[in-house]
């Protein structure tokens, strides 16, 4: 399984689309590695610095409908190549969410009020998240204190993450 732990990058906006996550001009690449420098290159958001914010963080927490737009799996790949394997949000676009689990990565949905509280409590602090897939619990840590937040995930999605993605799972089973 991939690493599901690390410092948090807060992106305080809904509807961040896949063109913002990885612009189409980089879709001419045929390796995942080549996408690494371009993650979130077109995202314009107050306080967000593409050059420094991505290097140190491994978890994204954002608002609603993350990953809307294009079907490009280059979006999860660009995250993966930057060691970001977890995105936590109020909601995801269908294809993006599916692509994350298909790659053995986590797209975790939490209720709006929970996301609101997380932003309120943590978004200005250095925050670390770790995900316990077996217990379906997110641990959020800041200022030396840890809070546990449960999340729901189907057994099938867990299987995909454990298998390292849908290709391995499907080729074995079907």
């Amino acid at each position: 399984m991939k690493n599901f732990k690390g410092k948090v990058l807060f992106l305080d906006r809904s509807d961040i689309n896949t063109d913002e996550i990885i612009p189409a001009r980089y879709l001419t690449e045929v390796t995942k590695e080549a996408l690494k420098p371009f993650l979130l290159e077109d995202l314009e958001l107050d306080g967000f610095n593409q050059k420094s914010d991505i290097v140190e963080n491994s978890v994204i927490i954002t608002r609603d409908n993350f990953g809307c737009g294009s079907s490009r799996e280059h979006a999860p790949w660009a995250l993966e190549m930057n060691d970001i394997n977890v995105v936590i949000a109020e909601g995801f676009a269908r294809i993006f969410r599916q692509n994350m689990y298909n790659c053995g990565m986590l797209a975790i949905s939490l209720k709006k009020n929970v996301i609101d509280q997380i932003f309120e409590k943590y978004s200005t602090k250095t925050t670390t998240v770790s995900v316990d897939l077996t217990k379906s619990i997110i641990s959020i840590e800041a200022d030396g204190k840890t809070e546990e937040i449960p999340f729901s995930i189907s057994e099938f999605d867990k299987d995909l993450v454990k298998a390292g993605g849908w290709l391995n799972f499907a080729d074995e089973k079907y």
């Binding site: 809904s14 189409a24 001009r25 001419t28 045929v30 737009g69 790659c103 057994e155 079907y174």
Partner: protein
């Protein structure tokens, strides 16, 4: 209890189920293009799984950047081309025969009522116009589709949009779908099927229905879907005439792919098309829609007519009717990109290309090109385009560029005046 068309298609195609309400569906078609497929091919090769489930059900096209613009895009096309040859993919469309996937695949009869279709392209929802469950997927789903002919989906709930009334003159399918997206918002149909019904939809041609279904994804929808009817049968007849004795027989058979009257919906929306006026997007989200009237005078640097939304023959006719005998504004670069070779040839024979040419348009070969800022009309920083495409995301048509989405008639009007203009005011 009654079923929706999507539920009926799921029932007929489910080969397994998984927890979380997931169905594993058998696929009738897997469509491929050269942007999202080469990575899938390379990965399958590296894992020793370079196989295809059925070389007659996989269709492939080089469409996003064609002819290739540089070594990287040449390599992408080559990977797809070599793979298609290696596996003897029966329907592979390359230079001279290629065009925008969501235009040429329907034209060749590959999209049928009741089908399950996936493609590594979010606008695959276009094919729902034929009563198919057709959805965009990522590369991994595409890989498994190619390898096994299956894909997983959660049975989606359905939003039914009953489009009724009488369209005003000068209002097109694009104005209707943009107005619907404004109502739904970009997240309003996430994880849901959008069923388009009502007299306005049933009076539409297949081309218009494709324009409508094409943009379902812009409201987050998994697929936009229309019920098959005699218009569907007429369109498909050249491809299905061996299968059915008469068109009535075909219609009777396809009628199994219509929702039951007592089907359950997440939401039913009554949409009065009589109130729709010509519209365009503003800003960087496709649900930010304003009337052309309110945007009049907004300057544009480029006009682009084409794409899987509005690059078909009817769109070109609509634009040419506005342009005929006029000249493109001297501060505007106007580009028209017929979506397929068939469209190109029809436009040539009907004299439409001559109209565009004389007005000062650049007529390009069929390709996705400028829509996603990959070739054939990329914007410079700060430039504005009146476009018949489907996405106005920041930087979509080029870094720092901005796109106003609109109908071909409205885009044509902008080409003449250099500003956003009501087509009916072009005299």
């Amino acid at each position: 209890m009654g079923k929706t068309i999507a539920e009926k298609i799921f029932e007929a195609h489910t080969v397994d189920t998984q927890s979380g309400g997931i169905s594993v569906l058998k696929l009738d078609a897997v469509f491929c293009h050269e942007i999202t497929t080469p990575v899938a091919i390379n990965d399958l090769v590296s894992k020793g799984k370079d196989r295809v489930f059925d070389n007659t059900k996989i269709k492939a096209v080089v469409d996003h950047v064609t002819p290739s613009k540089d070594s990287k895009t040449a390599e992408q096309a080559k990977i797809l081309r070599d793979w298609a040859r290696r596996h003897d993919i029966k329907d592979f469309f390359d230079i001279g025969k290629n065009g925008v996937c969501h235009a040429i695949f329907p034209e060749n009869g590959f999209s049928r009522p009741g089908y399950t279709i996936i493609m590594g392209d979010s606008h695959t929802c276009t094919h729902g116009a034929f009563g198919a469950f057709a959805a965009g997927v990522g590369t991994t789903d595409l890989q498994v589709g190619i390898l096994k002919g299956i894909c997983t989906f959660k049975t989606p709930e359905t939003i039914k949009i009953n489009v009724t009334g009488q369209k005003q003159e000068g209002v097109y399918a694009k104005d209707i779908i943009l107005s619907i997206i404004k109502l739904l918002t970009v997240n309003g149909a996430t994880n849901k099927v959008i069923e388009f019904t009502g007299n306005v939809i049933s009076q539409m041609t297949m081309e218009e229905r494709m324009t409508v279904c094409n943009m379902a994804i812009e409201a987050g929808g998994t697929v936009g879907i229309c019920y098959p009817d005699m218009t569907t049968v007429e369109y498909l007849w050249p491809f299905i005439k061996e299968e059915f004795k008469t068109k009535e027989d075909a219609l009777k058979d396809y009628s199994k792919w219509i929702s039951d009257s007592d089907a359950t919906y997440a939401q039913v929306i009554e949409f009065d098309a009589s109130k729709v006026v010509p519209v365009a997007t503003v800003g960087f989200k496709p649900d930010q829609v304003e009337t052309i009237e309110s945007l009049k005078g907004t300057k544009v640097d480029q006009v682009y007519i084409g794409s899987c939304t509005n690059g078909r023959i009817e769109d070109l006719r609509e634009a040419a009717a506005v342009i005929k005998g006029k000249k493109v504004n001297k501060f505007v670069r106007a580009i028209v990109s017929p979506a397929s070779p068939k469209t190109y040839n029809m436009a040539l024979k009907e004299g439409l290309l001559e109209i565009f040419d004389e007005a000062g348009f650049c007529v390009t070969n069929p390709t996705c090109g400028a829509c996603l800022g990959m070739s054939n009309g990329v914007l410079a920083n700060g430039e504005v385009c009146a476009s018949t495409t489907n996405r106005n995301f920041a930087g979509r048509m080029g870094k720092g560029g901005m796109v106003h989405l609109m109908s071909p008639a409205s885009a044509a009007a902008a080409a003449i005046t250099g500003t956003i203009t009501l087509a009916k005011e072009i005299k």
